[in-house]
Symmetry: C2
Subunit: 202 residues, 2 copies
């Protein structure tokens, strides 16, 4: 997995149409607020413009449409986190990193619920979100695993794709379906019974 432009928002053809970061942040915050409140299908660009005090023209210059705005907003939410703490052990780093993801995902919960009906009727939206959400955090995980290898705690390059997919799946499963808390017990069990075994499997 190559590390690439962490923090950078992947752009379509309109790449040059940058807004100043504060304006962009205000618009994307409005998108997140409306998603959680009224859901994707009922959210309009008009509402976004009103809430963010921006013009529709500004919005359309920057993003091709609603799906792209939502993807950018979700991406922003995903990368808005501290670097993962360096605790000195693989187990400690995994627990600290997983805790951090738990907090981020809890914040995304209402927003993702607002998107689910639209994902169902528009698979392209699902794929777009998936691309943005999949990347988030991968660079930090690579760093964490590099440190473990440097300390001799891991002897091979682990399969990052499976590790990331399993972790995200476990978090969403609890948030969306079972309602079980993403607490310290969950973090400890997931590290000991899932993540470390996957990392150490031959």
């Amino acid at each position: 997995m190559t590390a690439q432009g962490a923090g950078r928002t992947p752009d379509g053809p309109g790449a040059a149409r940058n807004l100043n970061p504060e304006r962009e942040r205000a618009i994307l915050d409005a998108v997140l607020e409306l998603l959680a409140e009224v859901g994707y299908d009922r959210m309009s660009i008009d509402q976004v413009a009103r809430l963010a005090r921006a013009s529709k023209a500004t919005i359309y210059r920057r993003w091709a449409g609603k799906a792209e705005m939502v993807a950018a907003a979700m991406h922003g939410l995903a990368v808005e986190h501290q670097p993962m703490p360096d605790t000195g052990t693989l187990r400690g780093d995994l627990a600290a990193g997983l805790s951090m993801f738990c907090r981020i995902y809890e914040r995304k919960h209402a927003i993702v619920l607002g998107l689910l009906p639209a994902i169902r009727s528009d698979p392209a939206l699902g794929r777009l979100l998936h691309r943005h959400m999949l990347k988030s955090g991968a660079d930090e995980v690579v760093e964490l695993l590099d440190r473990a290898r440097a300390r001799g705690e891991l002897d091979r390059e682990p399969d990052l794709t499976a590790l990331v997919e399993v972790t995200k799946a476990l978090l969403w499963h609890r948030l969306l379906l079972t309602g079980e808390p993403l607490d310290d017990g969950f973090v400890a069990r997931t590290v000991d019974e899932v993540l470390l075994p996957l990392l150490r499997a031959g």
Copy 2:
């Protein structure tokens, strides 16, 4: 379908509030149909009764309320499957079993989407469903793993809880969020990169 209602022999208190299996099946099928169509919040016992041609009294004698009916319906859907095939190898059994679960979960998809908003506002409903869904399939998986141990393919009692949670989480993550297919590629990768490593981890 047998007529039922006014002419039915009166039950004693708790007279095993069982319905005949055909009637019960018809009512639970109506529940599943309505869940997928209108969702949990908008589904009424009246609608269920009408669609299943049952009386509300019959329904209330058998189940305490909407949540219990839904849990029973989801449970019925979960156990409605063939025994897992015995392919002669752990890898083959896992792949065949996972494929079977993929088909069952695909059928549950629309129903679970209809439940999500209600799970959000009613955590007790989420826990109830979780209990019913968690049980489903566990016995078959135990059997599959016992066979593997008898063949010498596994040398210890594996952690079934983590295995089942990870599997269900991966399926729902794809169905609800990423929209990626539950195809043969997914089955093969999940068996090789997640399930076998978890089972074999020391």
